[in-house]
Structures are given as C-alpha cells and as structure tokens.
C-alpha cells in the first residue's frame, strides 16, 4: 500500500480542513461504517454461511474504499481475489464440512474473551501504527494514482525481488495444499472405491 500511496505523490500535510469534507470523503466514511458493521455482524452471527456472506459485504465495501482512494488496481484485485476466490474458498470449505442452515451453536468454542482481547489488541496496534505513520497526510484524489500502469511501473522498477519471492511463496502454498489434501494414505487407496467396498462385503459374507 505504501508504494501506492507514494505513487499519489502528495503526502505533505496540506492546508486542508476537516470541517468542509468533500463528497468523496463523505462517501468514504459512509462505506467505512458499512464495512465496520458488516464485519461486526460477520463475527457475531451464529450462522456460519451468513458469516461468510457478511464477509463478502465487508470485503466488497473495502474494495469501494480503495476505489475512493483512487487505488483502482488494488480495488479490483480485492474483488477478484477476495470476493471471487478467497470467500468462495471459505464458502466451499463450510459447505464441504456440512454447514447447516440455521444456528450452529457447537461452532462456538468458548474462547470469546480471548478472541476479543486478541482482536482488540491487534486493532489497537494497527490503528496506532497507521495513524502514526501517516499523521496528517492527505492523498491527492484529483487524479487516478493507482491505475494498472502506474502500479506496474512501480512494481517492476522498485519491487522486483519481493515479486519474485512471492512466486516461491505461492509455489510453497501450492505444494503444501496438495500434500495436505492427499495426506491420508497419500495414495488412491484412501478413496472409497468400488473394489474396496466389494471386499468389505465379501468379508461380511464370510462371517
């Protein structure tokens, strides 16, 4: 993100007033409130799939926030990767493990206070960090600073090494996923195959 903000070029504390917000700022705040609300509902709802769907709303709202900050490319990455695949992955996982319609109280593990503490602590850290880092900087919203082209220029001029490291990371994730999904038995025997079933039946007959 900091690269993209740097791309905007104008982080100097400008002579701006908080009292006369522009339309974009108002929309930004409204969408922010929506994102916050959706996020809260997402972690408090007792229905698993509803939680995932509220997460969609929260992440989609974030994409709109990115758009309002003229970070066009990041916004659509957010939609493509988070809405289009990560949330689908989450939903997939829930559906594969039988997320029932209605409340699922057994999904509550009783760690609520601990989770609340961790959440509050990390939120406080992040807010302090971000507020301290940017203080009274303003992003110049008059031009699109986060277009695909600009992102590409910054990425491939200054950040090539992290980019290549990312590919190794992704490869590791890929291999890990494959190994995990094939962990049990590690071979085709783990599958309930017709042949296996039949041997089970014959055993029963022998008894």
């Amino acid at each position: 993100m900091s690269t993209l903000l740097a791309a905007a070029g104008s982080l100097e504390p400008a002579a701006r007033s908080y009292l006369s917000p522009t339309g974009q700022e108002i929309v930004f705040l409204l969408v922010g409130a929506l994102v916050l609300g959706a996020a809260v509902v997402s972690v408090t709802t007792r229905q698993l799939v509803h939680a995932a769907l509220w997460l969609v709303v929260a992440l989609g709202g974030l994409a709109v926030e990115f758009l309002l900050l003229t970070a066009e490319f990041v916004a659509w990455v957010q939609v493509l990767v988070y809405l289009g695949s990560v949330v689908v992955l989450v939903l997939f996982g829930l559906m594969l493990t039988r997320a029932p319609i209605g409340r699922s109280p057994e999904a509550d593990s009783g760690n609520r206070p601990a989770a609340l503490a961790v959440g509050a602590a990390s939120a406080a850290t992040l807010v302090t960090l971000v507020v301290d880092a940017f203080r009274s900087s303003w992003i110049d919203l008059s031009g699109a600073a986060g277009t695909t082209r600009l992102t590409g220029e910054y990425l491939f001029s200054h950040w090539v090494l992290p980019f290549e490291a990312l590919s190794v990371l992704l490869l590791a994730a890929l291999v890990g996923a494959i190994v995990l999904s094939r962990a049990k038995g590690g071979s085709a025997d783990a599958k309930p195959r017709a042949g296996k079933l039949r041997t089970g039946l014959t055993k029963q007959k022998e008894r």
Binding site: V81, M95, S142, G152, E164, L166, L170, A177, I178
Partner: protein, 135 residues
C-alpha cells in the same frame, strides 16, 4: 496508438470519479430493476403454499435424510489451486501494461518468465500428483 488513461488528462482530472460514479449509478439502477421486478412479481403472483410444494425436490419422492452431504475434497483442491494461481495471474496485468515500454523490455520479460516458471512448476507438480484428474 498509445491509449491515454482518462485520468492522465489533467483537464479531466475527475474523469476517474465520473467513471466509477457511472458504475455506481448503474449498480443502483440494477438493484432498482431487481426490486421493481420482485415487487411486480409479488403483486401478480398467486400464493398457494402446500406442504408438498414446500418439500425439497427429489424427483417426486419424499426427500431422504438431510440436504447436506459430504462431497469430495477434490473440489476444494481446485478452489485452492485457483486462489494461488489467481494471485499469480493478477500480477500479469500491471506487467502487461509496462513490459514493452521504454526502460523495461527484455529484463522485465525474463522476470515475468521466472515468476510464471515457478507457478508452472507448481502446476506440473499438481498434475504429476494426480490432483488435476480423477477417474
């Protein structure tokens, strides 16, 4: 023949926001369209609920068991693979817009080939491990 992004034109500095305002407006119109059609449907349709009608459809017989069943993990693996490759593929777009520009050229091409190469290795690994096909 170089396409100039809208916002690069200082005179049309707010072109970016205009464009997305239009997208937002269309989204609102779309939602309105859905709401209007659902309302029209509500006004026009009959409501004759019978218990049979509200049963889950299972080819005419009464549904057996509950509606959720475990399915193969394979579907999940595909989704996981897609997430990884999608993260890869999005980097192609910023790259695509700059790699042929002055100052980038062959070096950037090679960088990208290294990136894609790593993922192609991943794909080959998945292929070799038999995750991509089942019979």
């Amino acid at each position: 023949m170089e396409w100039q992004p809208l916002a690069a034109d200082p005179a049309a500095g707010s072109g970016y926001f205009d464009a997305y305002a239009a997208v937002g407006l269309l989204a609102v119109i779309g939602v309105l369209f859905v709401v209007v059609s659902f309302t029209a449907n509500r006004l026009l349709r009959p409501v004759v609920d019978t218990p049979e009608k509200l049963l889950a459809y299972e080819c005419g017989v009464d549904p057996v068991g509950e509606g959720w069943a475990h399915t193969q993990i394979r579907y999940y693996v595909y989704a996981f693979l897609y997430v990884i490759f999608a993260v890869d593929a999005i980097y192609l777009f910023p790259w695509a817009t700059v790699f042929a520009a002055a100052g980038f050229g062959a070096a950037t091409l090679v960088e990208m080939f290294v990136f894609i190469g790593f993922l192609a290795v991943g794909l080959l690994y998945a292929w070799k491990k038999g995750v991509l096909e089942w019979t």
